[in-house]
């Protein structure tokens, strides 16, 4: 075996692995880490530069508008904080609303995930399920959700339940389609490998197709998570009843021309979306990043 074991070593060393470097002595790590810091700076500096330019432009417009007495159209950026987040009343309104909206969005997302993954698995296991129901999943995607929102309100009231249903309606399709895509994209010869051992459907699902579909499922989760936040806000924005979420707040501030507060609420909603999106990106990396090279 001595001649044979030489080959893997020889073939491994010239092509160090793409994303998980093999264990290297600590001496070699330092330059790598420094390069990591450099590339991190390179990825942070450009967007930071754009932010500075945007803020500058924003101040310019605000000052010009304020000079002509229309300052309410465009508050100064810092007023989002002084009159928004740091104002005791407005600040706590926003945080509480944000908390409620997050609850709605995450509940809706969880339900969409369970239904979506379950539906996709059923479709992948039995072709007749796919043939008879996939068209409706596509239709769900095509219905203008804004038209459905008032109906959901009629049927289910204007509280938590109705808002969650709006979230599910809006977040379900990406979950279904991405999971189904993942389940069906398994290599033909890998399926045959299992077939040759006479593996049953359940074994194939748990040991082959579902693990293989995980990267796609996470893509679906990230997309659905963003949509779910939008769904929670849209439902609330239209219902404008019950315990106010961030949607109701936006609507209220808008009608009262409280532009600084309005901007603060919008920023909070936006940050919520980004945070949930980032969370699922991180989760995906932890779960499948070890073996799957995602292209982000």
């Amino acid at each position: 075996m001595s001649t044979t074991s030489a080959e893997p070593v020889a073939t491994l060393s010239p092509e160090p692995t793409a994303s998980t470097p093999p264990p290297t002595p600590p001496k070699q790590r330092t330059p790598a880490r420094r390069r990591g810091f450099g590339s991190r700076a390179a990825s942070i500096l450009p967007p930071l530069g754009v932010l500075v330019v945007l803020l500058g432009a924003w101040y310019g417009v605000s000052i010009a508008l304020a000079a002509s007495g229309k300052g309410f159209l465009m508050p100064m950026p810092h007023e989002m904080f002084t009159q928004g987040f740091f104002d005791p009343q407005v600040g706590s309104d926003i945080w509480i609303a944000l908390f409620r909206t997050t609850g709605v969005a995450l509940t809706g997302l969880a339900i969409a995930m369970v239904i979506g993954i379950g539906w996709a698995i059923a479709m992948s296991l039995a072709r007749w399920v796919e043939r008879s129901t996939y068209a409706y999943a596509v239709m769900l995607q095509c219905i203008p959700i804004l038209a459905l929102v008032p109906l959901v309100g009629f049927w289910f009231g204007y509280e938590f339940l109705a808002r969650v249903i709006v979230c599910v309606l809006i977040a379900l399709f990406p979950m279904v389609s991405n999971t189904l895509f993942g389940l069906q994209s398994v290599d033909k010869s890998q399926r045959e490998l299992f077939r040759l051992q006479k593996a049953d459907k359940w074994t194939v699902l748990t040991k082959l197709t579902l693990p293989a579909a995980l990267p796609s499922i996470f893509v679906g989760m990230r997309t659905s998570a963003g949509l779910s936040v939008i769904g929670a806000i849209v439902g609330d924005y239209f219902f404008r009843r019950g315990e106010p979420g961030i949607g109701s707040l936006i609507s209220n501030y808008q009608s009262r021309l409280q532009s600084a507060e309005l901007f603060a609420a919008i920023l909070a909603a936006c940050l919520l979306g980004v945070a949930i999106f980032a969370f699922f990106g991180w989760l995906s990396k932890v779960a499948v990043g070890r073996w799957y090279d995602s292209t982000r």
């Binding site: 044979t4 074991s5 491994l12």
Partner: protein, 258 residues
């Protein structure tokens, strides 16, 4: 087709060929005839290579032998239930490391961990991947992945080993090295091998018998017994006798093709 489930008498009879094709033909539901009138046997300790142009039905032959397809005419008899199958690509599961990939087939056959772990270790040693048990497929070269794929099939202790152009995608040097490895394993394990390739040289180097196929529909045009001893000296590849054989097989291939 009669992929006769092996009657106990057949298994007991050591002289019965492991694989026995009699007048096998294959017509797909869309009307394409992939094979016609194929007679082929693979016995214990025989290594048979099938060479032929792309699309001549070589792979269909293998798929019938493995039971993935059913012959539409003739009889295809397999006298063992221990069949190894090596695919064109390594078909490793990317989320499993080498150890756990090699254990997969035993796992699918419900073997307990205490049986399949040492078995996998044995197979990993045999293909020269010792020390790479924890590596993931994406960390490995094409040659290493193929080794892992070989090891995975070896855990079944196959009596009949089917290879579907396993080294076709590898570079020349890696391929030659793996040919030597495979020969060594063949000499040790004494399975019956059916090896599909389009490389004449590889076919001759590995085999006790080389079968030339031609397409439309696929049929056997010629058979060559390979006279070299096992285990083989890599140097035979540079002898005049070897070169002459390569020439003859290549001629048969070209005549069958035109």
């Amino acid at each position: 087709m009669t992929l006769a489930s092996p009657a106990p008498a057949d298994i007991a009879d050591p002289t019965a060929p492991l694989l026995d094709f009699r007048n096998v033909a294959m017509t797909f539901p869309n009307g394409t005839t992939a094979l016609s009138g194929v007679d082929l046997t693979v016995g214990r300790g025989e290594f048979v290579s099938v060479v032929g142009p792309s699309g001549c039905g070589k792979s269909t032959l293998l798929r019938i032998a493995s039971g993935l397809e059913t012959a539409s005419e003739g009889t295809a008899t397999v006298n063992t239930d221990r069949i190894g199958y090596v695919f064109q690509d390594a078909t490793l599961l990317p989320w499993r490391d080498v150890q756990s990939n090699v254990e997969l087939l035993a796992e699918l056959n419900w073997q307990p961990k205490r049986v399949r772990v040492p078995k996998a270790q044995w197979a990993i040693d045999l293909v020269g991947l010792k020390g790479f048990e924890k590596h993931l497929p994406k960390q490995m070269s094409g040659g290493m992945k193929m080794r892992a794929s070989l090891a995975r099939s070896l855990t079944l202790d196959p009596e009949l080993f089917l290879f579907d152009e396993p080294f076709g995608a590898l570079d020349e040097i890696t391929r030659e090295r793996l040919n030597d490895e495979l020969l060594k394993i063949f000499v040790e394990q004494k399975f019956g091998g059916l090896f599909i390739t389009h490389s004449v040289s590889e076919a001759i180097y590995l085999s006790t018998k080389v079968v030339v196929m031609s397409g439309r529909p696929g049929h056997l045009v010629d058979t060559f017994e390979i006279p070299f001893d096992m285990p083989r000296d890599p140097e035979i590849r540079y002898t005049a006798e070897y070169a002459k054989l390569v020439g003859e097989v290549s001629h048969a291939l070209r005549e069958g093709h035109s």
